[in-house]
Amino acid sequence: MKTDKNLRREPLTDTQLLMMITIIIFLAMYFLAMALLGGGFLHAQQIFDMLNDNASLIIVSCGLTIVMIGGGIDISVGAVTSLVVMSCVLFLNGGGNIFTSILLALGIGLAFGLVQGFLISYLEIQPFIVTLAGMFFARGMTTILSVNPQKAEHEGFKALREMKIEIPFLGYTAKNGNFVPARVELGVIVALVCVVLVFLLLRFLRLGRGFYAIGGNQQSALMLGINVKRTRFLSYVLSGLLSGISGYVFMMHTGAGNATNAAGMEMNAIASSIIGGTLLTGGVGNVFGTFFGTMTLTTIKKIVVSSGLNDPWWQSITTGGMLCFFILLQSVVLSRRSKKKKAE
């Protein structure tokens, strides 16, 4: 009697519902921009530009999504990214090789993740304070390494930077008649791989489901036999590691280290996660949602520029408005849901 019922579609979980909302709004916005503004929005390169510019933001957002699903917060990600960029540039300029520089990037990220994770899960210190200290430390270390911008002069690295994937059939013909193929930076590939890997982790690994469990209800997770401390610890380690990767990708994009690199990136990453349907309360979120969250944020900025609002303040004011819209929408959707359940 019950078995045939299983074939019918289940109502969406909170995670799925919030992610669907994001994707739908993103698509609607993008198509609207294509129809009303045309121009760059009609070219595939627009999307690739958005990806090229935001590859490292996408990566740190993945890390932040993991931490937020587990009910925590990590505001050190932007500063760690910046520290990684500076360290790697100096390392390469000092004669290091590319392979070791990648290890250095991962190592720095991992170190931050390990220390922060340990302080938060095993010493039970508030995550906000720990990662705030981490942020201060990374920012301070960056300027200690160099106050002045440093350009990467390493030949091999320059070559690596220049490597771009060209996709001819997505190109377009420019005004002067030349055909321009679509160009994608290597960093974008790394970012997309990260998104997919984190998705797989969250979906299919025991650890990933553990993040949802501790974020949903920590006490229950403990009772269900999950090692809450270790799971939380690993969420910060992953976030740190992803910050390391993000730093390297950032460096591939800009080619230079600067103390102000990735300024405010942590908040952009939090915003991406939230727009993508991750709740700060934990237990709800999806990394694809986060990806679309980043894209939504970027699209809004592009739209503002394309529609001729050239005053410098409009971008962030519309971003703020967008964020407000999403936060309120989620709040209303979720509270309606719980009311409906109560009524049943």
């Binding site: 917060i73 302080l119 095993y122 010493l123 039970e124 210190i125 508030q126 906000f128 304070i129 720990v130 705030l132 200290a133 981490g134 942020m135 201060f136 430390f137 920012r139 301070g140 270390m141 300027t143 200690i144 106050v147 103390a259 908040m267 939090i270 915003a271 939230i274 700060l280 309360t281 005053d311 410098p312 303040w313 409009w314 971008q315 962030s316 004011i317 971003t319 703020g320 408005g321 964020l323 407000c324 936060i327 309120l328 709040s331 509270s335």
Partner: protein, 359 residues
């Protein structure tokens, strides 16, 4: 009253132990490093006023904005169990409104300054009510709710300033930002004292403290005892809004200009830190404003000490981070529990030894 002081010391010292020890250690460190650190001298500033100068003065002067913000932040933290990360941006808006009103008239008189101050307060409180409404009515976590204003606040300030960084040239503003002629104490310090007294008066003449703590510790019980928790949360944000306006005005007056990008940059992080160093639980509930004020000064002493050691202003953050981690690790529940266990073991060992001795 006497009783109150005594009980504050008896009951409250626990929370204040760590920040006070931190101050003591920093003082001791400076004393060993360079006793001259503590010298206070009287110098004459450009206007020819006799004013106090020295590292200690820069500490208490420099921490003024932070101390004011930390007081407001403590209330929001206690009532809502979260923090407002938009205070820096909101201060930029308040500062812009302040300057806008100042410059709207032909001359800057005492009257226009008061008017501008009131306008800045109203503007800051309006933005704070926006945050407060999201938190109290829509039940969004404070950090997420205030992320909105954090994202766009400085741009709003830029917009108010009409895409410029206007300066204000007026002896009154200079007096607010540095010294009132004839008074050797920096004006921002006097403002902090005034705001502190204001808070004390509010706590004395209203039930704000009891209600805020009740709402923060157990919202459900507070509601069943007739407390309107939505209103209390909103009120905490509005009070923070007032603090933001005051801090913004101090900041603007110091530089005599409003720069939306740099005014009180990253102050939200320091303010939250001050609350935490002061021994207040960032998850809300019981609070001590004094703790947060001390926390603000701890941060500033640390900064000034580092400056005195010729650490550049950009590098300070790294050292600050190490001290913060040390402070929170000592204060961590796990370490405290381990320490207590160790102490009791030592005690019982001692007892055993003394018992053996008695035999």
């Amino acid at each position: 009253m006497n009783n109150k002081i005594r009980s504050t010391f008896k009951g409250g010292l626990g929370q204040l132990t760590i920040p006070l020890i931190a101050i003591a250690i920093l003082f001791l460190f400076n004393l060993i490093r360079d006793p001259g650190f503590f010298s206070i001298e009287i110098t004459y500033n450009n206007d020819g006023n006799a004013v106090l100068a020295g590292n200690l003065i820069s500490v208490i002067n420099g921490a003024s904005e932070l101390a004011v913000l930390a007081m407001g932040m403590t209330l929001v933290t206690a009532a809502c169990g979260g923090q407002d990360i938009s205070v820096g941006a909101a201060a930029a808006i308040a500062g812009s409104a302040f300057v806008k009103v100042l410059k709207s008239g032909s001359a800057i008189t005492g009257g226009t300054v008061i008017l501008a101050f009131l306008c800045a307060c109203i503007v800051a409180m309006l933005f704070a009510s926006f945050n407060g409404t999201l938190v109290a009515v829509f039940r969004i976590q404070p950090m997420i709710a205030t992320l909105i204003l954090y994202t766009c606040g400085r741009s709003i300030a830029y917009w108010i300033n009409g895409g410029a960084t206007p300066t204000v040239d007026s002896p009154i503003i200079r007096a607010i930002g540095s010294f009132i002629p004839g008074v050797p104490i920096p004006t921002p310090v006097l403002i902090v004292v005034a705001v502190t007294i204001l808070f004390m008066l509010i706590f004395h003449f209203t039930s704000l403290e009891l209600f805020t703590q009740s709402v923060g510790i157990n919202g459900s019980a507070a509601r069943l005892n007739g407390i309107n928790s939505t209103l209390i949360k909103l009120l905490s944000f509005i009070i923070l809004g007032f603090c933001v306006a005051v801090a913004g005005i101090i900041g603007v007056s110091r530089l005599e200009l409003i720069n939306h990008e740099t005014l009180l940059l990253d102050v939200e992080m320091d303010a939250i830190l001050a609350v935490a160093i002061g021994g207040n639980n960032l998850g809300g509930g019981k609070f001590k404003i004094v703790g947060s004020i001390i926390g603000a000064y701890v941060i500033q002493i640390l900064t000034i000490t580092l400056y005195a050691m010729k650490v550049s202003s950009t590098d300070v953050k790294a050292y600050k981070a190490i001290v913060i981690v040390l402070l929170v690790v000592i204060g961590s529940p796990v370490i405290k529990a381990k320490f207590a266990k160790l102490m009791s073991q030592l005690k019982s060992n001692k007892q055993r030894v003394s018992m053996k001795g008695a035999e």
